[in-house]
Symmetry: C3
Subunit: 189 residues, 3 copies
């Protein structure tokens, strides 16, 4: 994987893991609940993406992703009470995480299938499924029925990445713009 994208990838996993851990904190779960929701949210979307693209699941290949999720869970466990509104932090983290992860998903989908259409699908899937799994398991309203802007933002971010990539711009610029488009769509709503 191109180094820029690898950084995006780790950042996306850590950010989603943090939203999972914050959800665990709001539900007053114990540390195992933090680990579970951090890992599920952190790697859930990417796991489904890899299964569908028929490539080895990323965290089985590279276990550092699990370490990132667990370290994030521990960090949130010891600091969440310091935050005035965990819900607001969660919303902003979610916005950044989906922006980053939509780009990573689109990159992987485009690289493996060459199809812009599948790339937008894998981008949207990677950016939304982790959060949807988290919300379904935690019994919270999920993105599909309550926050459709999440889906719109990931689609726009993934599409921007794909269009720029196919136009021949360097990957770093594509990823930055794609992420920015997704974040603007989400934050501006």
């Amino acid at each position: 994987m191109i180094p820029y994208i690898a950084w995006f990838d780790y950042a996306g996993v850590a950010l989603f893991a943090a939203t999972g851990a914050l959800t665990a904190s709001r539900k007053q779960l114990d540390i195992m609940g933090f680990f579970f929701l951090a890992i599920l949210t952190g790697v859930g979307g990417g796991t489904v993406r890899d299964l569908i693209l028929d490539v080895p699941v990323f965290w089985v290949q590279q276990q550092a992703y699990l370490v990132v999720c667990m370290a994030t869970a521990v960090g949130v466990y010891f600091t969440a009470h310091l935050v005035e509104s965990r819900y607001h932090v969660l919303l902003w983290l979610d916005a950044v995480a989906l922006s980053v992860y939509a780009v990573v998903g689109a990159h992987k989908g485009l690289q493996l299938t060459g199809s812009p259409f599948v790339a937008i699908m894998t981008g949207a899937m990677t950016g939304t499924l982790g959060g949807i799994l988290r919300d379904v398991l935690a019994g919270e309203p999920n993105a599909v029925t309550h926050k459709e802007i999440y889906i719109t933002a990931t689609v726009l971010g993934a599409a921007s990445y794909v269009v720029m990539r196919m136009a021949g711009f360097p990957v770093f610029a594509d990823a930055a713009i794609g992420g920015l488009v997704a974040f603007t769509a989400r934050a501006g709503a």
Copy 2:
């Protein structure tokens, strides 16, 4: 894939996509919510089937399926308000969709594993999982606890297909009878 079955397949995807879009309409989602639920419901069951059978996921291979889902979503978006009772239309579409899709799933399972038992499983899975995913995400009562007849109908339809297929009848007849059995079981309940 045998042409008859390919037509069944596209029809099943379109019908399930329509039920997803109708659910989006009942929940008053925006167009992205229509796309999401149409695609999830349209290809969800078949995706799990393909993962379990360890074959390439059908819509990654043949992107026309995604186009069918999206076109269906757009069509429902502009016409759903014309329908007097979206819920009744949804119920009937669901009945036809599961009948069609149970046969497709059974066909694919039988062809790939040669096992009638697995074929009935993949038929039932393909016919019910898309709708279950849709209902869980939309927060509606799902087929398992509220509409067990869905499961019964897909099992009967898939089993009819498998029995006739193994008895050597032509695929088209098997598929027609299988679909009819599933639909009768569902509609007659």
Copy 3:
């Protein structure tokens, strides 16, 4: 698979299938509902494990697992009314099932990847996901938010197995101890 582990595996599937069937009984579903929840709970966790480890799904290879689930469903269907408190039986069966299945999952993960970390993940996953799927579909409180001890118990059981296995103890002892640790953690809570 080593014979001891194969027995553990069948026992885990049957026990989880029984909890699924008991849930169907509490929800007063018909026999198809029993089959569906027994199969989903019995093979659900192991199916996700196999997909993630990229090996053929165990029940597609060996259909006896499906027969075990269905026989268990029939057995529970005809006897559940004899039990004074189905909920208590369900809780105990769940405790045994997760203990057994965490060990099987850890064994398979360790054998296939050689990584203790992934093995603990697959153990925890195999031990909890079937029950989580069952609870989400049946609309009951799930393990993540209401019974975190389930997760803790599977992690402890899987970790004990992995540590003893890597220390070179015979598989049977590792599995017995791993299962006992998980069960003690669950039952003692």
